[in-house]
């Protein structure tokens, strides 16, 4: 967030604390746009992104009396946003679903128990993947596209989609220390 924007939003929130609902509406609209950008790199699914955004706006509303105008707005705002994002991932225990396999690839179930893995670790593991693996897993699991749809979108074969996704899942599991459960 740019310094002048932060200052402006801080001023609007301060007015809102005094009961100015016009200032508050401006604050929430501009903050929503900012938070959508923040969440877009962490949540690919648009519907989920809006859900977390709404939860965050509600939390901001409930906590607005704790904003101290003499302090910067960004740490206050983003700590609430991160808190709600973490909350969302905790409630949605299964981060990445079951993968379908081709004949030569064993079927793996990738379920991550969020109570035993910090969201930061999961995010970090996903972020470390090579671009192609990250893109394919994002399309499969966050955009909920089928293997066929991903293959068509990227102009590659379905086998290539499955093999690349399988390698990505394996890498995430390895990073998080999860043992594979291979079906024979």
């Amino acid at each position: 967030m740019k310094a002048d924007q932060e200052q402006r939003l801080g001023f609007l929130l301060e007015r809102a604390q005094a009961g100015d609902n016009v200032a508050y509406e401006k604050f929430l609209l501009e903050t929503s746009a900012e938070l959508r950008r923040f969440f877009s790199s962490r949540l690919v699914n648009g519907e989920q992104r809006e859900d977390v955004l709404q939860e965050t706006l509600f939390a901001i509303h409930k906590a607005r009396h704790t904003y101290l105008p003499e302090r910067p707005l960004s740490p206050w705002l983003y700590s609430i946003a991160k808190y709600k994002l973490t909350d969302f991932f905790r409630k949605n225990m299964v981060l990445l679903g079951r993968e379908l396999s081709v004949e030569e690839i064993p079927e793996f179930a990738l379920e991550l128990d969020m109570s035993s893995h910090k969201i930061d670790d999961v995010e970090a593991a996903y972020a470390r993947l090579p671009t192609k693996q990250k893109k394919i897993i994002g399309l499969l699991k966050f955009e909920n596209l089928s293997v066929k749809e991903v293959a068509a979108k990227l102009g590659i074969s379905e086998s290539a989609v499955k093999i690349t996704a399988w390698r990505g899942y394996k890498e995430i599991r390895r990073t998080l220390g999860i043992k594979d459960d291979e079906n024979k």
Partner: protein
């Protein structure tokens, strides 16, 4: 996006002014004055130990005394800092743990070097710690419940660690038994136990962001 706009309309409609929380440093100082007042009353009630003037000149006693009050104050300060959403303060947040570990180290050191270990029952000490901790704990919870702590269990832990630390500080001024085993079992362990209870209490009490009902 329509639902988000509806939410924004809902939140801005009938907006009421709010009373801002105080700066955490100010809240801490207010709590400190209330707590020391309560501690003073408690010490008058229970009576300080007869040998306090001599005990203070013993190095191990003085260091432990300073450390318990440091534990209490650092825990309270951290709790106040964490009671409002803000940037992290990793060094400040670690200080209560350091303080607690120092106390444990001092006790273990005394145990190793003790010529004899008596132990001794300490139910009175437990009672004193709890009684001396009640009002500071209530005051801390009362102030922080009007804030918005994000890590509720951690803040709960710090609240009760602080109050119990204050209680232990007062108890050291009352209890004449400085035997390290006694201090470990009836001063240190209750402080840790009460602190851990705080994690549970915090997760229940600090529900400022309870889930809204969706239409």
């Amino acid at each position: 996006m329509m639902k988000t706009n509806n939410l924004i309309n809902e939140l801005t409609r009938n907006l009421q002014p709010v009373k801002k929380v105080s700066d955490p440093k100010i809240s801490f100082l207010k709590w400190l004055s209330i707590s020391f007042l309560c501690l003073g009353v408690g010490l008058l009630f229970f009576g300080v130990r007869d040998d306090l003037q001599n005990a203070i000149y013993r190095l191990e006693f003085s260091i432990q005394l300073l450390d318990t009050i440091a534990l209490a104050l650092l825990s309270a300060f951290s709790a106040f800092l964490l009671s409002i959403p803000d940037k992290k303060h990793p060094i400040i947040e670690t200080l209560p743990l350091m303080s607690g570990l120092l106390w444990l180290t001092l006790i273990i050191f005394a145990l190793i070097n003790a010529e004899t270990i008596r132990g001794g029952l300490g139910l009175n000490c437990l009672k004193e710690i709890v009684i001396l901790a009640v009002f500071p704990a209530a005051a801390l919870f009362s102030i922080i419940m009007h804030a918005a702590p994000l890590n509720k269990s951690k803040v709960g832990l710090l609240v009760l660690l602080s109050a119990a630390g204050l209680g232990a500080f007062g108890t050291q001024l009352i209890c004449v038994n400085d035997d390290p085993l006694h201090v470990l079992l009836w001063h240190f362990t209750p402080v840790v136990g009460i602190g851990l209870i705080g994690m549970f209490v915090g997760s229940i009490l600090f529900r400022w962001d309870a889930v809204r009902k969706r239409n």
